[in-house]
């Protein structure tokens, strides 16, 4: 049936002042990493709290792993792992203790819960800190422990609400690696919210973009970008006349062609797929480009197109991932 799937149908969450989530519908397939992208305050965390049973929707239906989030909340809690944006750890406890208690509350025997706790401490590389109080952990260690706590009961679906907000770039990269591994090795469906464009781009198989409570776009990162257009093949030739000849020769292949001295830019959807035929066409004419590069539109371009504004004023430095 709908094992490991998330189905969201026209979910609404109204507060007296605002409609935080406004008729949002989408489906997350079993085993995929789904990125839920939106600026601060767009409604991401509200939706996560509904899907993880902490809040009730004002209208609409949603199911996680085939269980209704309203009427079968306890069943959803059993199969869903959740790491909320606000890390909830008792600083007086040790990580081994917290993991064991969590495992027992999910129904494991004390011994099984201990064994699982040890596995998870290895997984998130906290074995050495297992018997230290959580209050003494660094931010990155807490985040990793919180992730481990979400995994004690081998969830079918994992919710990660802004898992890298506030982390330094190295820890962020660690979380990405972990998320990919959980998805690949355990086939876990992962629902991840983020306010970082490059995080969604990097991790997610598919993305939904939410803005002011409304879903404004959905698809694979590639599809979304292709829909915006602006994908191009850039060729640099030895001199301007070679470039001009090449531009004439390739004119019919591109939607739009632009020549600037020794550089030729071919705008076309599906640019990557067209590289081979461009190269073949040029081989016929003995015009060999010095360099060939592809330019992709970014998710920021997608966001600009669907909302009419840039994603966020402050983005972390775009690292060359």
């Amino acid at each position: 049936m709908s094992e490991r799937e998330i189905v969201v149908e026209s979910i609404v969450k109204k507060y007296p002042e605002v409609t935080a989530v406004d008729h949002v519908s989408f489906k997350v397939k079993a085993g995929e990493i789904f990125g839920f992208l939106g600026p601060n305050g767009a409604g991401k965390s509200t939706l996560v709290s509904i899907l993880t049973t902490l809040r009730l929707p004002s209208a609409g239906r949603a199911s996680v792993g085939g269980y209704d989030v309203v009427t079968q909340a306890n069943e959803v809690r059993r199969i869903a792992g959740v790491a909320l944006q606000e890390i909830g750890l008792d600083p007086l406890m040790r990580s081994m203790e917290l993991l064991t208690i969590q495992g027992q509350l999910f129904g494991a025997s004390r011994n099984d819960a201990r064994r699982r706790a040890e596995e998870l401490l290895d997984l998130v590389r906290l074995r050495d800190a297992a018997d230290r109080r959580v209050g003494k952990y660094s931010g990155g260690m807490r985040r990793r422990l919180d992730l481990a706590l979400a995994l004690v009961h081998n969830p079918q679906v994992l919710f990660l609400d802004e898992p890298t907000t506030g982390l330094d770039p190295a820890s962020r990269r660690d979380v990405w690696t972990e998320v990919r591994r959980l998805n690949r090795d355990l086939g876990m469906t992962i629902f991840l919210t983020t306010q970082y464009l490059e995080e969604a781009d990097e991790l997610a198989d598919r993305i939904a973009i939410i803005d002011q409570g409304k879903l404004v776009a959905e698809g694979t990162p590639g599809d979304l970008k292709a829909r915006v257009g602006g994908e191009s093949i850039n060729l640099v030739f030895a001199d301007g006349s070679a470039a001009e000849k090449a531009a004439q020769r390739l004119d019919d292949m591109a939607e739009r062609i632009q020549r600037d001295r020794e550089m030729v830019r071919l705008y076309m959807p599906g640019a990557a797929g067209a590289v081979a035929s461009v190269v073949r066409r040029l081989e016929d004419t003995q015009l060999e480009p010095l360099t060939l590069t592809l330019s992709q539109p970014t998710l920021d371009d997608v966001f600009l197109q669907v909302t009419g504004q840039r994603f966020a004023k402050e983005q972390p430095a775009r690292s060359a991932v």
Binding site: D68, E86, L92
Partner: protein, 276 residues
């Protein structure tokens, strides 16, 4: 987004494996609370120290003047004043339950527990039970100090145990109130403030003299205060013997208080975990 006309949501009817019985949940969570209490001894020492301090002060300043109390004929002043210290120790101890809970609420661990299939009742009872253990120990320490100050209970060891049981019952009931404050406010300061209700509760009673010697508004307040009946029952046990009517009134007073406070606590829990 195309509109969804017919719902695609199909749900299972069977339930996932692994259910943990309520008593087991409560045991695990109570143990967790006791562990954290043991790791914050600084929260335990002040209430017990204050109770013992006052006990010694009452005994040494009022003890010699107590001859004027006609009711005390035959009884000892320590047997009269010790219940006041026991009651204040158990009410202050009840604050520990709330302090634990409010810490969990404010650091987010409470939400983490809400994400597990644990019963909401267990989330409420665990800190209260842990508080009961702590205030039982505190009341026992105060009683031990009472023995050092010359306590000679009329009903012997069984009577002392009955006094202890009354103290635990009273404290656990009062914990219902402090826990409500913790759930309602989510703030440590507000919870601490609410715990100070134990001051009027303890002193608007027949604190220093028997009820019959009180007058006017203080007598009315003391008559309405359930603590008065708990004090009278304890005093009877320590000074007079098995006075079943006083004992029954004391037990009834703690039970009424407990039922009212637990109703309040469950309401506060409902509001806190309301998903709306």
């Amino acid at each position: 987004m195309e509109a969804v006309h017919s719902s695609q949501i199909m749900t299972h009817s069977r339930k996932p494996e692994g259910r943990l019985a309520l008593p087991h949940q409560i045991t695990i969570l109570t143990w967790r609370n006791l562990v954290t209490i043991a790791r914050t001894p600084e929260a335990l020492l002040p209430p017990i120290a204050i109770s013992i301090f006052f006990l010694v002060i009452y005994k040494s300043t009022l003890g010699k003047a107590a001859g004027f109390l006609p009711e005390l004929s035959g009884g000892s002043y320590i047997g009269f004043i010790l219940p006041l210290s026991i009651v204040s120790a158990s009410l202050a101890g009840a604050g520990v339950a709330a302090q634990n809970l409010v810490r969990d609420v404010s650091n987010g661990y409470f939400d983490k527990l809400l994400l597990t299939p644990v019963s909401r009742t267990a989330l409420l009872l665990a800190p209260i039970l842990a508080g009961a253990v702590i205030l039982g120990v505190q009341a026992a320490i105060v009683i031990a100090v009472g023995f050092l100050l010359g306590l000679d209970p009329a009903t012997g060891l069984p009577g002392v145990l009955a006094v202890l049981a009354l103290a635990v019952l009273l404290g656990t009931g009062f914990a219902g109130f402090t826990v409500s404050a913790a759930l309602g406010s989510g703030s440590a300061a507000a919870t601490q403030g609410a715990s100070f209700v134990f001051f009027p509760l303890t002193f608007l009673t027949a604190s220093f003299v028997p009820l019959d010697l009180l007058d006017g508004w203080l007598k009315t307040a003391a008559r309405l205060n359930p603590i008065t009946y708990v004090l009278e029952a304890m005093r009877a046990l320590l000074n007079d013997g098995w006075d079943m009517s006083a004992l029954a009134q004391g037990i009834a007073a703690t039970l009424i208080l407990a039922v009212a406070m637990y109703a309040l606590a469950f309401y506060a829990l409902r509001v806190r975990t309301r998903r709306a």
